[in-house]
């Protein structure tokens, strides 16, 4: 696998001969004193009330709460009662550039990420056209260097134009900056093609992220197959559509020594496949989405495609509980939103006709905090850790609050209550699975690679 990078290297710096994995627009480096906030960085063993001084975009000092004074030109945030976490990293977002900028683009997408406390994201390659050439990677990185408020990494497709038949030029794509490979949105139906890609990966590096479903079993399914689909008369996608493909692909990866990331895990049988593969020593990582952790197919009864139609579909309560357990026991490596913006006209149609996907960047922390941390199902430490570890499968270390690090952090009010969508979204699209829900906790400020990438408007006014 590619070498581990901490944050963004300086311009021109290289990563084992490869470009820096993430690209952000240049901006002023933050000079900020956050006073008295509860810091929580479980991996670094940092916990408790501290003052945190950020100078020139880096964390220069951590000190006992109330002990640091700001020099001239340093903004002070009185943050007693608020929390500071290392910023989050999402390895699975759809920013729709190029081709579908009416849904989202690199600017609105990264703004949406920043509003959710993210300081790094990886964009999927199923754009229009798909990202299958080095020139496209270069163009995307160039665009991001002008508009991305949060550092973005780009994936390339495994097969040319996601047709599933020919491999992309993986080596050149890596040289151009592809952090990994994925045909996300579609499975790689051919075992032979996946095998070749994994063989070739031994030379190029770059984890292959897999959207696992067997098209033969999914058929025209639009929701989980089960009691609810039976009653609603909607075609079902059986859980085995996902798990059988994971079984197949884990076996191929094990045989070839390849590295794979299983995307958006949804079913209990899939978790079993991952456990077995990990026990067998396969280099397999996996992610789960906030919506699969918080909702079940019972939610589909309202036939609201904007909130409740996505792929993989919401499954049953026992699947959901198994996903939570797998997050706790470490079988699941990270939380990824699969942020999938769609325009209103693509969602405001009968359920079966609607596009699949929901947005999730702006609500990832708050939704899971509300649904799982507040009721005591998982700890805050675990949530912070799993939202932060999304870059690891792609060689990007989690952000940290350790002195001397680049400032990648978020300031969060755990007591805040807000109605999702009430004041609009940073995303260009409104198909949030949390739309209209009241959530507890809210991201107030996000620093991404030393820049203030987001401030909640109401909060900033309060400080001024």
């Amino acid at each position: 696998m590619n070498e581990v990078i901490d944050g963004l290297p300086e311009d021109g710096a290289e990563n084992g001969g490869l470009p820096a994995p993430l690209v952000q627009r240049p901006g002023p480096e933050a000079n900020l004193l956050i006073r008295g906030a509860e810091l929580l960085d479980p991996a670094a063993g940092i916990s408790g009330a501290r003052d945190i001084l950020i100078e020139g975009g880096s964390i220069s000092r951590l000190a006992e709460a109330g002990t640091l004074e700001a020099a001239d030109g340093v903004e002070v945030i009185e943050a007693e009662g608020l929390h500071v976490f290392p910023a989050f990293f999402d390895p699975h977002v759809h920013f729709r550039t190029p081709g579908q900028e009416y849904k989202e683009d690199l600017e609105t997408g990264t703004r949406s990420a920043a509003a959710g406390g993210y300081a790094g994201v990886i964009a999927m390659a199923n754009t229009s056209p798909p990202v299958s050439s080095p020139e496209q990677i270069e163009a995307l990185r160039d665009r991001a260097s002008h508009v991305a408020s949060v550092p973005v990494g780009f994936t390339a497709t495994v097969t040319t134009d996601m047709k599933g038949t020919e491999l992309t030029e993986m080596a050149e794509l890596r040289e151009a900056g592809a952090v990994g490979f994925t045909d996300d949105g579609l499975p790689i139906a051919s075992a032979r093609i996946l095998r070749r890609a994994l063989q070739y990966q031994a030379m190029t590096g770059g984890r292959i992220a897999l959207h696992e479903e067997d098209p033969e079993l999914s058929g025209k399914g639009v929701m989980n197959e089960g009691v609810v689909s039976s009653e609603l008369g909607l075609r079902g996608v059986p859980s085995i559509s996902e798990s059988t493909m994971i079984g197949r692909d884990a076996a191929i990866a094990g045989y070839e020594g390849g590295a794979i990331q299983i995307q958006h895990l949804s079913a209990i049988e899939s978790i079993e496949q991952i456990r077995r593969a990990k026990e067998d020593g396969v280099d397999i990582t996996c992610e789960v989405t906030p919506h699969h952790l918080c909702l079940t197919d019972e939610a589909v009864r309202d036939l609201d495609a904007s909130k409740h139609k996505m792929n993989p579909p919401l499954r049953t309560e026992s699947d959901r509980q198994a996903l939570i357990e797998a997050l706790i026991d470490g079988t699941i490596d990270c939380i990824a939103t699969d942020h999938a913006p769609h325009a209103i006209h693509e969602k405001e149609v009968p359920y079966e006709a609607a596009n699949m996907g929901v947005t999730g960047l702006e609500t990832a922390f708050s939704s899971i905090y509300t649904e799982l941390v507040l009721p005591g199902r998982i700890t805050l430490d675990l949530l912070v850790e799993k939202l932060g570890s999304g870059g690891v499968p792609f060689g990007i270390e989690p952000f940290t609050l350790i002195e001397g690090s680049r400032a990648n952090l978020c300031l969060v009010d755990l007591e805040a209550e807000w109605v999702v969508g009430e004041d609009g979204y940073e995303s260009r699209s409104v198909n949030s699975w949390c739309a209209g829900e009241t959530l507890r906790s809210r991201v107030l400020v996000t620093l991404a690679d030393g820049q203030v990438a987001f401030r909640l408007r109401t909060f900033s006014l309060g400080v001024a």
Binding site: V227, S230, E231, V349, Y351
Partner: protein, 315 residues
């Protein structure tokens, strides 16, 4: 009752009162003058995105018998063919200020979406494989006319339950009215988890002699191409209901159109025990009752003491 989207919108009492209402409309239909002024001056739109004979014609006639102005829109030959979205079509039709829109659509939830977009009372005339509530109500009516209450009766629904909105509405409706529902068919055509709706599941016709009513579903030939059944011939051998399978007291129903010799033997269709003609006749009275309850009765479900008054008679 503001809309009729699903059988779940109703309770037993609401169904009873609707069937009572239908009974008085059935009376009206026997008179020389079959029209009542209940919806005079009001507009009813029928919007059909799928082919239909029985449902569209009986809703249209029901609305006319209630003296409504009726606009019938079919997807073919309309702006739908030019790619107009459901929402835009519905908003266009809303400009006529319809009191009700009756919609059939190939996708589940279409009727429900309309109810969120416009003020008109929405009647679901079939949405995908989801619901067909007026069919279930007319089936209940036909049964009530023939055997009275179905409380405690055993009803078998046989055939392609997987693809059937009629089955979904009828399982709910029959159960709500106290019948014991069994569904039977090949496992490939029985949706996984359907027993949670309160019915028993069988993979053969063994035991069908216990049924008071056998409700057959249309078996589409395309199902064979999709590998749901190996052949229509084998399906017919295993699941066709014909007079050899039945005893004389058992009733047979079918929502139509039938495939003679596939799911149903021709000998059954032509016998007294077959309620198919009763079902069709019930459709008109029941759909008049639905529109009356939704539009003339202010959305309440209590039966009016006076009942409908035919045109030409003193009100």
């Amino acid at each position: 009752m503001k809309h009729l989207l699903s059988i779940e919108d109703l309770d037993q009492e609401a169904v009873e009162s609707l069937l009572d209402r239908a009974e008085s409309f059935a009376e009206v239909s026997k008179r020389d003058i079959k029209k009542v002024p209940a919806l005079r001056g009001r507009t009813v739109v029928t919007l059909f995105y799928e082919a239909s004979t029985r449902t569209s014609s009986s809703f249209e006639l029901a609305a006319k018998r209630l003296s409504a102005d009726v606009v019938s829109v079919k997807a073919s030959g309309s702006s739908v063919e030019k790619g107009e979205s459901l929402k835009d079509t519905v908003e266009t039709l809303s400009a006529y200020d319809p009191a009700s829109i009756i919609i059939r659509h190939p996708q589940a939830g279409a009727a429900q979406m309309l109810s969120g977009w416009v003020d008109a009372a929405i009647v679901n005339a079939g949405d995908g494989m989801h619901q067909h509530p007026s069919q279930a109500l007319l089936d209940l009516f036909a049964l009530r006319q023939r055997i009275g209450s179905i409380e405690g009766r055993k009803i078998w629904i046989v055939g392609d339950v997987l693809h059937s909105r009629v089955a979904r509405s009828n399982i709910q409706a029959f159960s709500m009215m106290g019948a014991e529902v069994t569904i039977a068919g090949p496992p490939t055509l029985i949706p996984r988890g359907i027993e949670a709706s309160g019915c028993e599941v069988r993979y053969s016709l063994d035991g069908i002699e216990e049924a008071d009513v056998v409700y057959l579903l249309r078996m589409q030939r395309e199902r064979m191409e999709e590998s749901f059944v190996p052949s229509i011939r084998e399906y017919a051998r295993l699941f066709q209901v014909n007079s050899r399978r039945l005893n004389p007291r058992q009733l047979v129903m079918h929502p139509g159109p039938v495939n003679r010799g596939v799911e149903i033997g021709g000998d059954v269709i032509d016998s007294d025990r077959c309620l198919i003609a009763d079902q069709v006749a019930s459709g008109l009275a029941v759909r008049m009752a639905i529109l009356f309850e939704l539009l003339a009765h202010g959305g309440e479900t209590h039966a009016s003491a006076e009942g409908p008054v035919p045109i030409g008679e003193p009100a």
